[in-house]
Symmetry: C2
Amino acid sequence: MSLSYAILATLTDLACSGYELAKRFDGSVGHFWSASHQQIYRELNRLEERQWITGEVIPQTGRPDKKCYHLTEMGKVEMAKWIAQPSKSSRTKEEILVKLFAGDLVEPEILLAELRRYHQEHEQQLQIYQQIEQQHFADPEKLSWGAKCQYLTLRQGIRYEIDVIAWCKEALTLLRA
Amino acid sequence: MSLSYAILATLTDLACSGYELAKRFDGSVGHFWSASHQQIYRELNRLEERQWITGEVIPQTGRPDKKCYHLTEMGKVEMAKWIAQPSKSSRTKEEILVKLFAGDLVEPEILLAELRRYHQEHEQQLQIYQQIEQQHFADPEKLSWGAKCQYLTLRQGIRYEIDVIAWCKEALTLLRA
DNA sequence: GCGTCCATGTAATTCGTTACATGATTCG
DNA sequence: CGAATCATGTAACGAATTACATGGACGC
């Protein structure tokens, strides 16, 4: 259900094709939503049927034509309606926490190695986000209201990565003691 | 797929029935995994077929009999195998971030109200986790290795809530400026 | 020549949610 | 007397994942 709204939100920002949407869900938009291209194409068809979006075929030379989607007035209204409703809070499903919870079943070194790997992964992600921050949101106070909102979604991502990294360090310290 | 391992992990900690599992996924275990009772019963049947767990019917008086599950040796081995593999990192799907991303479509006050509500919700969750911390993990250094691992899953939850609350404050400050 | 990117899709399967169902017991 | 708790399930549906498929363009 909310995948459709995630797509609408992404299209609000910038009209694009299914393929491009999939890449955005993989990249910068990915820290608050993700979806495979199969999900996206299916959902785009439904949204077009409901007339919340319209697709425009853009002929291209040297590569396949693409179908560029943008919101209709109806789509904007529906999106606004959804935003006004209280969100249901979603639980994260972190495999590493499941592994820790059953930590007694394996050798300590296995979990420590996994924690180090996890730490590294999030360190890299943090750097990616911080580059985006520096390049696009150097002076947050001066952004337009809509841009501030978008900046805050990135801030959430940055904060999350910093916090996960700190947790990894805490975990490694406690488990090595 | 990983739901089965989440169940195995929970059973490692304490053998229990489907009903009790559902309650644990709703409570303390819930900050790293969640599942409905329908999912749990279906998965328990599959796990029993595969002989990763065995169920033992425990007659009770004054209430229905319950079927208590515990890991088999095979289950422990499979769990250990899974733990040794690198985890795939899961992306959170936070509706509030989708809403912010499309923030231009609604009146500022709607988003501010949602942020305040979100803030409140996480403040409450934090207090629940901190109570568990005080009651069960007063002196982390003195815990057994397995208990330290479990404590760290709670720590992740506590850290997350603190961070989300700080982010809410940052967001409200930026958007009101 | 091989892999990757562009661009879109179908099919099969598993996972997750919603609704419905039973039946006894305890609490107010 | 009604509601909630204990305990377990089935059925139907919708969402997500995985695998498979096409076919030209471009770089090494």
